[in-house]
C-alpha cells in the first residue's frame, strides 16, 4: 500500500507493523468487517418484515393462517438456532435445485437421491455451472441472510405480537366507535404506538443478532473469523511477514469489535426509547410530560 513497503524483509519496528497491517490480506480482513455490517443491515429489515408478517398472521381472524403463524414462531424458537443456521441453507438449496430440476428436465428418469448423492440435471444446478465467483458468493450470502432472517423473524414476530396486544385496548375501541374499520384502526392507532412496547424486546433481539453474526463462518463465508484464523496463524519465513502464532491477538481484536458494537447499540436504543416514549401512555412518557410542564 505504501511505497516503503516494497521489501518487507528490511523493515522492523513501527514501519514493519504499518506495512503488515496494510498488506493485501489485511485489507480483505477489514473488508470482512464490512460483510458483518452488511449482514446486520440486510438481515434486520428482512427479519422485521418477516416478523411483522408473522405477527399479523398470528392476529389474523382466519384460523389456518393464525395457526400457521403460531407454528412458525414456536418451531423456529424451540429448536436451537445453530441447527437452523446449518439446516436452512442446505435444505433450501436442495429444495431450489429439486424444483428447478422438475421444471427444466421433465424427462429425467433417474431418482434424485441415489445413496448419498443428490443428483439433479445440469440445468438445475444453483448457482448455475460456470457462474462467476461473485455470483456464487452472493448466492451463499443470500442463503445465510435468509437463514438469519427466518430465525430472527420468529423472535421478532413474537415480540411484535406482544407489543400489539399491549397497546391500550380502549383506544382501539374508541377508534372503532368513530367508525374506523379494523384495518384502519390497526394502521392509525396500533401501528404507530406499538413500537415503544416492542422496543425492549427488539433491542434484545438486535443484541442477539449481533452476537450471532460470527456464525457466518460456519456457512463457509470468508468472514472476520475466517480471516482472523488465516492471518493469526504462525507464518514461517516463506511469507513476506513472518510471525509466531498471533491468533489470540486477532480474536482479542474481534472481541473488542463486538463489545464496541454492543456498547454502541445500547446507547442507540437508549436514545430511541426516549424518542418513542414522547407522548405515550407509559410511565416514561408521563415523566417526560411532567418535566415539560
Amino acid at each position: 500500500m505504501f511505497s516503503f513497503c516494497s521489501d518487507p524483509s528490511v523493515l522492523s519496528g513501527l514501519p514493519w507493523f504499518v506495512c503488515y497491517l496494510t498488506s493485501a490480506t489485511h485489507l480483505d480482513f477489514y473488508r470482512a468487517f464490512g460483510v458483518v455490517m452488511l449482514l446486520l443491515v440486510v438481515t434486520a429489515p428482512a427479519a422485521l418484515a418477516i416478523g411483522m408478517g408473522g405477527a399479523m398472521a398470528i392476529r389474523a381472524r382466519f384460523a389456518p393462517l393464525s395457526l400457521l403463524g403460531k407454528a412458525y414462531v414456536n418451531i423456529a424458537r424451540g429448536v436451537p438456532d445453530i441447527v437452523f443456521f446449518l439446516f436452512v441453507p442446505i435444505a433450501l438449496g436442495q429444495g431450489i435445485e429439486y424444483v428447478l430440476h422438475h421444471i427444466n428436465c421433465p424427462d429425467w428418469d433417474q431418482p434424485i437421491r441415489q445413496g448419498n448423492d443428490f443428483l439433479v440435471c445440469r440445468e438445475a444446478k444453483m448457482p448455475p455451472i460456470g457462474a462467476p465467483a461473485w455470483v456464487r458468493d452472493a448466492y451463499a450470502f443470500g442463503m445465510a441472510v435468509l437463514a438469519f432472517a427466518l430465525v430472527f423473524g420468529a423472535f421478532v414476530a413474537n415480540t411484535l405480537h406482544g407489543a400489539m396486544q399491549a397497546v391500550p385496548h380502549a383506544q382501539i375501541e374508541t377508534a372503532e366507535a368513530y367508525g374506523m374499520t379494523r384495518a384502519q384502526a390497526f394502521r392509525r392507532i396500533v401501528l404507530p404506538q406499538m413500537w415503544v412496547y416492542a422496543l425492549p424486546g427488539l433491542s434484545n433481539i438486535w443484541q442477539i443478532l449481533i452476537k450471532a453474526t460470527p456464525l457466518l463462518f460456519l456457512l463457509g463465508i470468508q468472514d472476520v473469523v475466517y480471516w482472523a484464523r488465516e492471518l493469526g496463524g504462525q507464518k514461517t519465513t516463506l511469507y513476506s511477514y513472518p510471525h509466531p502464532d498471533w491468533r489470540m491477538w486477532y480474536f482479542l481484536a474481534l472481541l473488542g469489535f463486538y463489545l464496541f458494537l454492543t456498547w454502541l447499540s445500547e446507547r442507540g436504543f437508549g436514545w430511541l426509547t426516549l424518542r418513542l416514549s414522547h407522548g405515550q401512555a407509559t410511565a416514561e412518557g408521563e415523566r417526560m410530560r411532567r418535566a415539560a410542564a
Binding site: I82, A91, Q94, G115, N116, K211, R229, F251, Y258
Partner: protein, 283 residues
Amino acid sequence: MRTCAESFDAYFLRALGREFGERLLPRGTDITFCDQVALIGSGLIWNIYFAALAVVIGFVLATGVALARHASSPWLSRPAGVFIFAFRGSPLFIQFFFFYSAFVLLPRSGVDIPLGFVTLTVQTSALTTAQVGGLIVLILNTTAYSAELFFGALRSVPKGDLEAADAYGMTGFTRFRRVVWPNMLRLAWPSYTNEAIFLTHSTTLVFLSAFPAQQQSGEAFYYARYFVDQTFNPFVAYPLVAAFFVALTLAIVGLFGLINLRLNRHLPRVARTRLRFRPQYIR
C-alpha cells in the same frame, strides 16, 4: 447392513472414546437410521457433562460476582461490572476461539508459579482439550449471564424483609443466608431456568469451532454435522438432534420447576411465581 441392536451396541457409548464401542464411525452409504440415533444420543453425554458442570460451578461463582457487583465499594463493583459486560457483550463463539488460541500458547510442560518457599507447577496441557478448556469458557460465560440475573434480583429483594432481618439483629453472613440469598434465588429463578436452557443449547458450539474433538468423540451436534457431511441429507440428522434437545430442555424445565416449588413452598399457592418457558438461544 447392521441391525438396530448392533448399531446401539456399537455406538451408544462411542462419544466417550474409541475404546467404548466401534473404533470407526459409520461412513457413506453404510449409515443406517439407528446409527444416527445411537451416535447422536451418545453425544448427549457430553452436552449433559458440559451443561451440568457449568451450571453448578457457574452458580457458585455467579453468586460471588453478583455480590461483588452489588457491593458499595467501587473496587469490587467495577471489576465485576467489567467482567459481566465483557462476557455478555461478546459472542460465545469468539470467546471459544480466543481462549483456545490463548491456551495453546501456554507451555506444554506446565507453568511454574513461585510462591516464595514452594514452586507450584500448574498443568496446562489439559486446557487445550474441550473437556477442560471448553468447560472453563462455558463456566465464565454462564457466570457472567447468571451474575447479571442475580444482581438484578439482589436489587429487588423486598425492603420489608431486610428491615425485618435488621429488627431481629441479624447481620453479616446470617442475614445473607437466611434473608437475602433465598429471596434472590426466588426472584431470579424463572430467568435462571432460561439461562440454564440457553447454556445447554450453547454446548453445541464447543466442538464447532476451536476445540478439537479427539478420537472423533464429540457432542450430539458434532455427530449430526458429521452425518450431514457424509449423507448430504439434512432432513434426518438435524431434526433428530433437535428432538433430542427438546427432550433435554423439557427435562431441565422439570428439574428447575421442582426447585422452584421448593423455593416458594412457604408462599400461598396463588402468590407463587410460575416458571415460563421462554428461552433465548443465541449468546
